[in-house]
């Protein structure tokens, strides 16, 4: 495409609106406007120059701020829809069938519809992720499309601007003053003390400050891109681990995905606030709400096995450290964190029974079943023994005569046992449950009598490794730097020029914060006796002046 040669001799890229060098409007449309549009300095952007190939069209689509804003709005609306009902990961069900049933049971027809439309898992849906991906692409392309031409034109800008550029600035004034040259000189000195970067070219002056704030948006977009990149990295193997484990008091288990670490629970602690400790301050709240939790804590010991150790191999462990895992205080080691997430109090640990004669209650000995590791046979005194034929940890009843267990957790243990006594060397069969015994093969002379039980608490722990965190943190940091740079500083420019006919022109532009630049100008103007100027966009002040207020 053709370059545009300005009257001043500068060769501008095609699509430029304001000459990069002197600022003259380069087409009729720009010339017709009362004020120039200073966004991107009127420079030529790729998206406005080329529109031929597919690449051009894709580029133009994503470089558009309009498209970007639409993407933001669509994501915003979609995200809000996902908060109407709880998402699947907050629903107490795991299988698809149970989840569907849950939405129907709790939320009725609307719940079913919500689930069927996939809104219950909206944030991991392909279309939501595609939208976020498109926004990411838009961030990259829109930034590239603007930052390069903006950089070039700010670098090329001349101190001496054409009158047609100056008179189209929002703040503008012109007039005859007594000693133009001296006024400009005074203004130059004053502006320098006000931390402006002042350049002179003959009878023209350009004072500029805070240009770096123009790069703020591009810096913060870079931060966002880095952040999204970090989030994407999580999908790669090795970067991200998210596991859970249930650990019982006294148990020592392999920590999933950790390559050789083992964790032992010494104790789980659950505390609530008591009125005694702080009656005066918390008394009312405890009265109103009831029980308020104070602490969930698992005291653990961490062990490391030899390289490549796996679950079940508890030999050769070396002790690493002891720790107290609390909510907000995870255990950290080797890029991993272990979090206190959940607990179950008083799970059955072991049960102690006695083999008895039903009538005389004569004892043949006691035995204790460790519920997480029941032995096949318990030998008692005088050759008596109890054989465990089958163990149902979470017994729920019989289905067609077969005992059922709904989970491996010892919530309701039941045993099918054979009792051997000197009197019955071939054994008697009994089905032992809590508080009840069945005799499936006819009446027995002996029974298993329940003696005592021991319980222990279970800690629900989450194991997390996230190697993308440093990238996310860096992205966040760069975003904050960029957004502060663009928001808390602003780019101010003041042009002062004596025209050939002796009149002095003063014009100013800032990308934000017009009140401050006007104050700056007032200070300079008072000292250097410059012509009067006004904000050409401020209708209220003009109206006030006309009314004579």
């Amino acid at each position: 495409m053709d370059k545009i040669v300005c009257t001043c001799g500068n060769v501008n890229p095609a699509g430029t609106l304001l000459c990069e060098s002197c600022g003259r409007p380069l087409n009729k449309e720009t010339e017709d406007k009362k004020l120039v549009d200073m966004r991107y300095e009127g420079s030529a952007r790729r998206s406005q120059t080329y529109n031929k190939t597919i690449i051009d069209k894709v580029w133009n689509f994503f470089s558009s701020v309009k498209v970007g804003v639409w993407l933001i709005i669509i994501i915003l609306v979609a995200a809000s829809i996902g908060t109407i009902l709880p998402q699947v990961f907050y629903v107490p069900a795991t299988s698809e069938v149970d989840i569907a049933a849950y939405y129907e049971r709790i939320y009725g027809t609307f719940g079913t519809l919500y689930y069927e439309l996939g809104l219950s898992d909206l944030y991991s849906s392909w279309w939501f992720q595609a939208l976020v991906g498109m926004l990411g692409i838009s961030l990259i392309i829109a930034s590239l499309d603007r930052v390069i031409p903006l950089y070039k034109s700010l670098k090329k800008q001349k101190t001496k601007r054409h009158f047609s550029f100056l008179k189209r600035q929002r703040i503008y004034g012109i007039g005859n003053i007594e000693n133009g040259e001296e006024s400009i000189k005074k203004a130059e000195e004053k502006l320098k003390t006000m931390r402006y970067n002042v350049k002179r070219e003959g009878n023209a002056l350009l004072a500029e400050r805070g240009r770096f704030s123009r790069w703020g948006p591009y810096v913060n977009h870079l931060g966002l891109i880095l952040f999204l990149f970090g989030v994407m990295l999580r999908a790669l193997p090795g970067f991200y681990v998210d596991e859970t484990m249930w650990l019982r008091e006294g148990e020592r288990l392999y920590i999933p995905e950790t390559n050789g670490y083992f964790l032992e629970s010494k104790e789980f602690i659950y505390e609530t606030y008591s009125k005694e400790e702080s009656e005066e301050v918390y008394g009312d709240a405890i009265d109103r709400v009831g029980v308020i939790a104070k602490n969930y804590q698992t005291n653990v010991a961490l062990y490391k096995g030899p390289e490549g150790a796996v679950a079940g191999h508890l030999e050769d462990l070396t002790f690493e450290k002891e720790a107290a895992i609390q909510v907000n205080k995870p255990l950290k080691f080797d890029n991993f964190s272990v979090f206190q997430m959940d607990f179950r109090l008083d799970e059955l640990a072991s049960m102690t029974f006695q083999l008895q004669d039903k009538e005389t209650a004569e004892s043949f000995g006691e035995f204790t079943i460790n519920l997480s590791d029941p032995q096949p046979v318990y030998e008692l005194s005088n050759g008596s023994k109890v054989e465990i034929l089958d163990y149902y940890a979470d017994f729920t009843g019989f289905e067609e005569g077969v005992p059922q267990s709904q989970s491996p957790l010892p919530n309701n243990p039941a045993f099918l046992v054979k009792m051997y006594t000197p009197e019955f060397p071939n054994g008697e069969t009994s089905f032992v449950m809590i508080k009840e015994t069945l005799e499936p093969l006819g009446e027995n002379k002996h029974k298993i009598a329940f003696q005592s039980v021991e319980t222990r608490d279970v800690s629900g722990l989450t194991i997390r490794k996230d190697l993308t965190l440093p990238i996310l943190m860096l992205g966040g940091l760069i975003f904050m730097i960029g957004v502060a740079q663009g928001s808390y500083w602003n780019h101010r420019r003041i042009w002062i020029q004596q025209l050939e006919d002796g009149q002095v022109v003063i014009a100013a532009h800032t990308n934000k914060n017009w009140l401050s630049i006007l104050r700056d100008m007032d200070t300079v103007s008072e000292l250097a006796n410059l012509p009067k100027y006004e904000d050409q966009q401020d209708e209220d002040s003009k109206a006030d002046k006309e009314e004579g207020v």
Partner: protein, 393 residues
């Protein structure tokens, strides 16, 4: 002891804000330039009283902090009160940049309503549950609330801009919607009036009901039950029978409170209309007459510019760091998190529309108002309606 001092200081702050509102009204009224010296004096007095109130408000915050042993931002009353306080703080900051009294006339009543709204919730000091025991509670919540408070000032500026620039003599969409905003503000007053009335009357009735998990539970109503819970049965003798029973999904108690607020608010609104014989927006319009629209537009934009980075830091970045410590993941699509993201996206759209599409003036002012509505939605509705990890109150 400390708790009582703290309550007294909050009350002083509340009264000071009320007085300052009237003083700002005095500073704004009148249009002749001759009297401008006297108005300047009104303005000075008004900002002084505001600062006294703010100092007292901070006194409340510090004494309560000492009494509780943690930053007083851990339940709905404490957070909302802190938010109201920070709105005043943000106003003071912006006032010293622009010195526009009209801003105080509108910002202070909004802070007053926020604090009034806050005090309708249980006010006792609650001990921290394990998830909240972290210094990030202080850092995250205060930064997020400060960001939201600064953003709220942009809505105040937007409101003033619109009141000044909407033609109230001709029927238009703008005129309708600005009055709708006024009506919603009156509804909040209605909530405060209804809650206060029934609290003073010591109204209390109990019902048994069946929840969605088919358990029988008890619900205590503090307002007359317009709507009944699912299969509810009165426990209290001679209790008013609910006019209508709701399915188990709906919390009929909250629905009754909302309905009473609407009734009280609407009656209040009708009374105001009868007294003034004008739209509320038209009643307020003269107070904005002397305001410079260009400056209002700039204040609206500038407070978004100042508030947006603070909000990002507090409500997203600090939030993520804490979420990673407490809940093991930095982001979990909890409703409160999502709405913070929505707020952030909305203001990002606001900035892009302004910078690239030239949305200034009226459009920008409307957006600032919508932004404030989103913030209030996240504060009120997400806590009260949508259950999630953040519903502590």
């Amino acid at each position: 002891m400390m708790v009582e001092v703290s309550s007294t200081l909050l009350f002083i702050a509340f009264v000071a804000y009320l007085v300052a509102t009237f003083l700002f009204g005095g500073a704004v009224k009148g249009s002749s330039s001759k009297a401008s010296k006297s108005f300047e004096r009104w303005g000075k007095l008004a900002i002084t009283v505001t600062i006294i109130g703010f100092v007292s408000n901070i006194g409340y915050f510090i004494t309560r902090w000492i009494a509780a042993g943690h930053a007083p931002v851990s339940n709905l009353f404490e957070f909302t009160t802190a938010f109201g306080m920070l709105v005043v703080g943000a106003f003071i900051l912006i006032y010293f940049i622009y010195r526009i009294p009209a801003l105080g006339l509108f910002a202070l009543p909004i802070a007053i309503i926020i604090i009034g709204y806050a005090s309708m919730f249980p006010r006792e000091i609650t001990p921290l549950i394990p998830a909240l025991k972290s210094y990030w509670l202080t850092v995250h919540v205060i930064t997020a609330a400060l960001g939201e408070a600064i953003l709220a000032i942009s809505a105040v500026a937007g409101l003033i801009y619109l009141l000044k620039n909407i033609d109230m003599t001709k029927k238009s969409k703008s005129r309708f919607w600005i009055e709708a905003v006024m009506y919603v503000v009156v509804l909040v007053l209605g909530f405060i009036a209804a809650t206060t009335t029934f609290t003073l009357a010591d109204y209390k009735v109990e019902f048994n009901y069946v929840n969605k998990e088919e358990q029988v539970l008890t619900m205590e109503y503090n307002v007359p039950p317009i709507f009944g819970m699912n299969e509810s049965e009165a426990i209290t003798e001679n209790a008013m029978q609910p006019l209508m029973e709701m399915p188990p999904l709906v919390n009929a108690k909250k629905l009754s409170v909302v309905t009473w607020s609407v009734i009280f608010g609407t009656v209040l609104y009708i009374l105001l209309r009868l007294i003034f014989r004008k739209r509320i927006a038209s009643v307020l319009q003269p107070f904005t007459k002397k305001v410079n629209s260009q400056f209002m537009d700039e204040i609206g934009y500038r407070s978004v510019l100042i508030g947006f980075p603070v909000f990002t830091l507090g409500a997203l970045i600090f939030a993520m760091i804490w979420a990673h410590e407490a809940w093991s993941r930095f982001w979990g699509w909890d409703p409160k998190e999502v709405w913070a993201l929505i707020t952030w996206l909305f203001y990002a759209a606001f900035l892009h529309l302004r910078l690239s599409k030239g949305w200034e003036g009226k459009k920008s002012a409307w957006l600032a108002l919508i932004g404030f509505i989103i913030i209030m939605f996240n504060l009120i509705a997400v806590n009260l309606i949508i259950a999630g990890l953040h519903s502590y109150a």
